[in-house]
Symmetry: C2
Subunit: 324 residues, 2 copies
């Protein structure tokens, strides 16, 4: 089977690609595992060679119709749509966010519609589709009330995926991902970038500003857990999906203070003391509208899992993702 | 003040135009009534001359940027965005629905964004943004769960209006209108077209097919009530809007059987017996997903009103809207 990953050169895309190549099979619409014969990684950036003959790389803009044509050459059975303009950038650059997160998503769905199959599509939505006054544990059928452009764009994406799926144009499912941490590399323009930075930077001997206070509660997931949940979301039979085709993915709910405490237990005072609380109202305003926890009953029923603890997330980073 | 009505040559557009011209003023963002100096009616169809020097007509496609340029020449203080591809047509023609109901709406919002002011915008949303398993009286903050392309497109419109308003690009509010009846003229491609047809046609001596059964409950509003509610929605101060900027507009909840009974009381057995129940699964499937009633507390608090009875709606049609 031919799989396409958009954002395939990004951190999550690379990890997902490696996981799919290692598995070698994916269960598709017929309910049987089928061998992965081709993995197309589409990204604005050209990524490193993975040294696997099944992998094909395409670099360019997702909104470029010729590039999409090439991505679908020879057929596509399944799509993981990870490419997106992140939350902070979508808030700062309104036009870019709507163009990439909505228009390019729609172009991708159109291409799936034109494909025989129809392809199975995993759309990565976000906790940011929820906002405002929320219950402590947001239920699966909570109303979409985005308070940021990123959240609004992801909510539109969910509506698009649902309507395309309802019409039978594709076999779609939207997964609302918690904040992913710890990401290696450099800070990005996501409002949640600090959730990785306050662990990654201190471990590298660098002071890390934390733009929200210790009591701020966040819903988190490690890279390894999110990859497992993306695969579980892909393999879920269409008949198991809720009417909305949207699934809130489980995560762990911890405060920023508990994150720093876990870092302290794993790496000591000198490391943890490198987190410097420096309030940033722009980041705080976005982050405080997000869900602090998901009920995620549907996701768990589909085999999705949350990490055991934030300490385990820190250890996972040290063992697997830290770049030396 | 300069007002723009999209869909200005349609039944509602003409009625709204006449109402605004008769009022002569509208209360805008500063809270004071201001005289209506120009009323631009934009529509794909060219409409009849209203014989009023304040009225300007523009005929063409809403998605035509040159036409939009002309509509905004000299400035626009307020917009009533009524133009849309109706529900049955949006379901039958997927591409047309998304292009007009979403892309053209976004083009209009972009033009408002480029205008000084910012303009106040009333977006006509619909009961069709809700669907699936719903409470008997749908509360104002019910999750958007559209079960039709039209509903999905209106839900996207609400998200767009909210995000443009949140960014301060316009002063927007989305009004979720009940099914409007009795519309004069001919059947249209709305799934709800029969709700007018089963009154209008029998009164004209013509048999009218009813595609749903007598027990089907609908949320209805007369043309006169909807015009009053559109004006109330326009005049509501931004500070009185809910966080979503969306307002469910009150209507009356009646079964199709009660509609026919009211027709019988007003016009007699011979007329009411011209309603022929002939099940149409395509129409029934769409209609049965819609809300049967709105709680509409917010709308009522803003001065919006439901009709007194369906009998009053039939009499209103006979006295004011029936075309001889």
């Amino acid at each position: 089977m031919n799989i396409l990953i958009t954002g395939g050169a990004g951190f999550l895309g690379r990890k997902l690609a490696a996981a799919l190549l290692a598995r070698g099979t994916l269960t598709g619409p017929d309910g049987a595992p089928r061998p992965l014969t081709r993995l197309t990684l589409l990204d604005i950036a050209s990524g490193a060679d993975l040294g696997d003959a099944r992998v094909r790389r395409l670099a360019g803009d997702l909104a470029d119709t010729e590039l999409l044509d090439r991505a679908f050459e020879g057929g596509v059975d399944g799509v993981f749509h990870l490419a997106a303009v992140v939350s902070g950038e979508a808030e700062a650059n309104f036009d870019l966010g709507w163009r990439v997160n909505v228009d390019a998503t729609r172009a991708l769905l159109e291409r799936c519609r034109a494909s025989p199959g129809p392809p199975r599509v995993v759309f990565t939505s976000s906790i940011a589709v929820f906002g405002g006054t929320l219950p402590e544990r947001v239920p699966d059928d909570q109303a979409l009330t985005p308070q940021s452009s990123y959240g609004a764009q992801k909510a539109v994406g969910e509506l698009l995926v649902h309507d395309y799926a309802r019409k039978g144009f594709l076999d779609g499912r939207s997964l609302r991902l918690p904040t992913i941490t710890v990401r290696p590399g450099k800070p990005n323009k996501a409002a949640s970038s600090f959730a990785s930075g306050i662990i990654r930077e201190p471990l590298a001997g660098i002071e890390a500003p934390c733009p929200v206070d210790r009591a701020t509660r966040m819903l988190l997931q490690s890279p390894r857990a999110v990859i497992g949940n993306l695969v579980a979301g892909y393999e879920a039979p269409a008949s198991a999906l809720p009417p909305s085709h949207s699934i809130s993915v489980p995560g762990i709910s911890v405060t920023v203070g508990e994150m720093v405490d876990a870092l302290r237990r794993v790496a000591g005072d000198a490391v943890a003391d490198r987190v410097i609380f420096r309030h940033d109202p722009a980041v705080d305003r976005i982050v405080r509208t997000w869900p602090r926890d998901f009920d995620a009953q549907r996701g768990r029923a589909l085999g999705m899992q949350a990490d055991a603890s934030f300490e385990a997330i820190v250890r996972q980073y040290l063992e697997h993702d830290r770049q030396s």
